[in-house]
Subunit: 207 residues, 2 copies
Amino acid sequence: MEKKISKAVVRRLPKYHRYLTNLKESGVKKISSKELSDMIGFTASQIRQDFNNFGGFGQQGYGYNVEELLEEVKGILGLGQEYSVVILGAGNLGSALAKFNDFERYQFNIKALFDIDEAIVNKKINGITVHHTSELDEFLIRNEIDIAFICTGNSVAQELAEKAVSLGVRGIWNFAMVDLHLPSSVIMENVHLIDNLFTMSYFLKSK
Amino acid sequence: MEKKISKAVVRRLPKYHRYLTNLKESGVKKISSKELSDMIGFTASQIRQDFNNFGGFGQQGYGYNVEELLEEVKGILGLGQEYSVVILGAGNLGSALAKFNDFERYQFNIKALFDIDEAIVNKKINGITVHHTSELDEFLIRNEIDIAFICTGNSVAQELAEKAVSLGVRGIWNFAMVDLHLPSSVIMENVHLIDNLFTMSYFLKSK
């Protein structure tokens, strides 16, 4: 049985996933919390505590089995199952996301893009069809979609996210520069690129 | 004189910037901390405290002057001055970033892209030339560049970021899926898209 894991631990899991994947690909079989700590930058005690949260593998004096630990982290992250995705907005960012092969590698399968720009509707991006946004309702009714990437302009982001959620989408990955207001049951992550850049300019200016 | 502002406040500033910009564009002249709170979701007392950090504008019973406050937030964020940018890696993501007009709007001026793919070297993306990565040294010596966006593959991200920093770049915006190790004087922000998506899959699976 999995214990309830705090949000802080969950946010560290993808990083563990990244490092363990690299270790496995480099042929490393086992690793101590101290060695992981030197690489990742979390303290060894933090790492042991995190891994204890979900079963605790390490053996005193032996360390962790990299492959087992990686499989465990994958399972906890919900990887190894398929997620169906639509991308709303097929402009620069939406198109770029459609071309990322890493999504497919982790079974986030992009089923369709949607846009209102007639110049790209019915075209394909990386083999995935761009549909007119007016077809979104029907598409979501006919297909079980887990996640919508919101790559539209700010003015329509809320409306389209609401529509997606009302038709069964459970996860919203929001790239629009607005905060979306959605039912608390919806899993939402935000990537506000400009906010990130402004944090940089603050620190650049302050130096 | 500006007081030293905590990192937590700095991270909220871009959000204030976003809301105040929208308010100004909607013609709103003044706003109370209570009204801002209802929109942004921070408590009114948090908002008053944040604004007190940098001079404190509000007048009891009157509220904040939207335009003045926006100008103040911009100044603190280091906006209103120009930043010169290079994009390292002109693949899907690097190209998409070169096409974002919001960067130029805020005076983050993209001067050049760099890539090793002969098929795109010397081509232009949104009017900006793609140079061969072998020309990076000379370009950075001849041009004062503030920020490098790292959009390369994981294997070369560290090496190129180090080179950029050694030749005067002060800010690194890292989109590669690796953690970069750079001198602590470097301003670095990370956008690990896959990490973000994995956090979503965790919560989707847990529901």
